[in-house]
Symmetry: D2
């Protein structure tokens, strides 16, 4: 079971809202909205996506990584490196 299992409904709701934001963006562009207004909405959608990522990451650290840490062994280091790489991709994107 993934770490976010306890928050799945909330995460799906937030992803649906981001999907709605990307549809709203298409409507804006079809209606020749002003560039800056489109950019403001893109920043809002980006922030919403990253907030979902932060929330998933907290669940992942508290469940999957915590389990691997408790079990010890090689899986511990592997899970830590994998989580760090995911954080790095988030920071860079």
């Amino acid at each position: 079971m993934p770490g976010y299992i306890g928050h799945r409904d909330e995460i799906l709701r937030r992803l649906r809202r981001v999907e709605g934001q990307t549809r709203g963006l298409q409507r804006m562009v079809e209606e020749d909205a002003y560039c800056i207004d489109v950019l403001t909405q893109i920043s809002a959608a980006t922030r919403a996506l990253q907030a979902v990522a932060i929330s998933l990451l907290e669940d992942h650290l508290g469940h999957c990584v915590a389990d691997a840490v408790r079990s010890g062994g090689p899986e511990r280091d592997e899970k830590l490196r994998e989580a760090t790489a995911a954080i790095e991709r988030l920071v860079r994107s």
Copy 2:
């Protein structure tokens, strides 16, 4: 006419692809995909959204801001400040 008028179809195509990515994310979460795989896809969608923003910004600088600069007057400073604020929101998000 907005600065992106010459690239509207391409921008709409890219936004539709991001919409597809957000639907793919929902499917992953519904199927209990591994947290890290979901995070990787969120980073990809974020990068795609920001690439659209960079492209819109280039059009905006080359058209709307360039026109205001050529016309001079108070609109010049206003447009520059507005564009800078949009860049700041992008960097912060």
Copy 3:
């Protein structure tokens, strides 16, 4: 003359403050400060650096790019592409 010539003293002052922040970070690490406190100070230094970048960018758009736009010709497109690439590096870093 670079676009920031009118703000050079202010930019130097801000860069000196960032230099001080990086020295403060070294002191914290030498004194075994708590990881999270070091991370908070790194975020502060990063934000300070990016604020300098945003300020330089505004000057650059208002002077160097504006001049190229007014002169028209191939330099116009070159300067716009160069500025956009710099914005992209900022957003990605």
Copy 4:
């Protein structure tokens, strides 16, 4: 002992290099370097700072957070929330 204790020398070396980069930036501005060249160096310094942060975070997750997870109890949730907040500041900066 902080989580980075085993990497302290390397972290100090990297922070000293960032300090050198911020001094190099001041020299560039004093010598009226081209705006875009200054921006490129700011992006490099920002990326270097964030790489130190990612490295500190990995140590923190592998030591401080791992210890709290193993001990269980209320400290576990507190440490996880604290680490998530630090990641959020990094992503936002």
